[in-house]
């Protein structure tokens, strides 16, 4: 036995490196595991790096924007280039600061309107695999973030926390094919389920009967029936409804209310006592 293991140790080891994680994946049905100490160590190393890089790239982006503006000024009025560049750079900085200030004000006013303690977080990176639609925020277990908490902006739903470690958390956005949101159409109160389409851009409104009254432009809000999201948060707008000749349900597409590719600050809502929440962005 020992000689067999010794003789074939290389193919056995390589085979185990494939089979063991594959069995783990198949047995979980694609669901993630609880973070172990290795996961926490990796996240502990990468999250501060991502936070730092976010600052660096944000600064670079502002510089590039300033440079583009400078070139335009040069073409338009060459004699005023230096003065205009300085003014433009200051303006860019102020505009960026004002935009950030406005976003944070909206988030904070939304947080104040909430009934429970909510957590303001900054997005520090999107995940590196296109098969999973998620991003990382700079608040984690240490700040009270827990798995299953809904994540929103003042404009509407973003997703839910799927993993939290000490200083960061991962949020599955509602565009992910595994995302499910109990929803209703605001105008007609028709119920359905909003599912991520998988293309990273839109969602599908599922389990809505063919004869129900839904048209383009209808606002879809959370129904509060899924145990995750509080009732009345804006999910998106119906864009395209088709009623197949066969089948019980119609096919509707939903455009997210939030630009999920460019969200910078989010609010993590508490997982309990949500039903009484009302405020900006809530309907």
């Amino acid at each position: 036995m020992f000689s067999f293991l010794n003789r074939y140790r290389e193919p056995l080891l390589v085979g185990a490196l494939i089979i063991v994680p594959l069995i783990s994946f198949l047995s979980r049905g694609g669901r993630g595991r609880e973070p172990n100490f290795v996961d926490r160590a990796v996240l502990g190393l990468s999250s501060p790096l991502q936070s730092a890089l976010t600052g660096v790239f944000g600064g670079l982006s502002s510089t590039v924007n300033g440079y583009v503006a400078l070139r335009g000024a040069h073409e338009a009025a060459n004699q005023c280039r230096a003065e205009l560049a300085q003014t433009q750079a200051e303006l860019n900085t102020l505009t960026e600061a004002r935009a950030e200030n406005q976003r944070l004000k909206e988030v904070l006013s939304f947080a104040e309107a909430s009934s429970g303690p909510s957590i303001v977080a900054r997005v520090i990176g999107l995940n590196a695999s296109p098969q999973f639609q998620s991003f990382r925020i700079d608040r984690g277990e240490a700040q009270g973030v827990r798995v299953g908490m809904p994540v929103v902006t003042p404009k509407g739903v973003v997703g839910q926390v799927v993993r939290a470690v000490a200083g960061s958390a991962d949020v599955m956005v509602m565009l992910d094919p595994q995302s499910r949101i109990g929803a209703l159409v605001q105008r007609t109160r028709v119920r359905g389920t909003v599912v991520g389409a998988g293309d990273g851009q839109k969602m599908l409104l599922d389990f809505v009967r063919r004869e129900d009254d839904i048209t383009d432009g209808d606002v879809v809000v959370t129904a509060g029936t899924d145990g995750i999201y509080p009732r009345g948060l804006v999910v998106g707008t119906v864009k395209g409804v088709s009623r197949p000749t066969v089948g019980l349900f119609l096919v509707g597409q939903v455009e997210p209310a939030v630009d999920l590719g460019r969200v910078e600050e989010v609010l993590v809502l508490p997982a309990v006592e949500l039903s009484a929440m009302r405020g900006p962005g809530l309907r």
Binding site: L22, V38, A128, S129, Q178
Partner: protein
């Protein structure tokens, strides 16, 4: 030691990519930096060392998804072995050859990942749409591989590959 260096490099590149994707708003497609490194090792390093490093890099990618499930470590080792076998037939040591190799491996990696997730996902139809990003992903990965080539060559300049027994 080289394996540890390459794994650390993968961690840094994944962190940079995560921030770049957020900053520039690539909602769907990504650059498969992990595949670029795994393919490089497949062409140049030994089977055991390369497999262990591929596993570690796949593990990192798994952790970065937010929902680690074991899919990517297994796929990383599988891609490593397949690329190693393909290296017997094709030139993967030149810069251009390596870039094409990485692009091809990205397509294979994405397709197998899609297949396994399609088999286990509730919303199987939704997964099909994620395939539309694969061509751009392969192109970006190939370009990135060509850019990484000098750096990777310094870390792992190895010329000999112990293929033949288990590749």
């Amino acid at each position: 030691m080289k394996g540890v260096l390459l794994t650390a490099l993968a961690l840094v590149l994944l962190s940079i990519e995560a921030v770049l994707v957020k900053t520039f708003g690539f909602e769907v497609t990504r650059i498969d930096v992990t595949i670029a490194i795994i393919v490089f090792m497949a062409v140049r390093s030994k089977t055991i060392e390369g497999s262990l490093t591929a596993f570690a890099i796949g593990y990192l990618l798994d952790v970065f998804t937010g929902r680690p499930s074991g899919l990517y470590p297994a796929l990383a080792v599988l891609v490593f072995l397949l690329a190693r076998a393909a290296a017997q037939l094709l030139d993967g040591k030149s810069r251009l050859g390596y870039a094409l190799f990485a692009a091809g491996a990205t397509v294979g990696h994405s397709l197998v990942a899609f297949l396994l997730m399609w088999l286990t996902s509730k919303n199987a139809d939704g997964r099909v749409l994620s395939l539309t990003a694969v061509p751009l992903q392969a192109l970006l990965t190939g370009v990135t591989a060509a850019l990484l080539f000098p750096l990777l060559s310094k870390i792992e300049p190895g010329e000999r590959v112990d293929v033949g027994r288990y590749a």
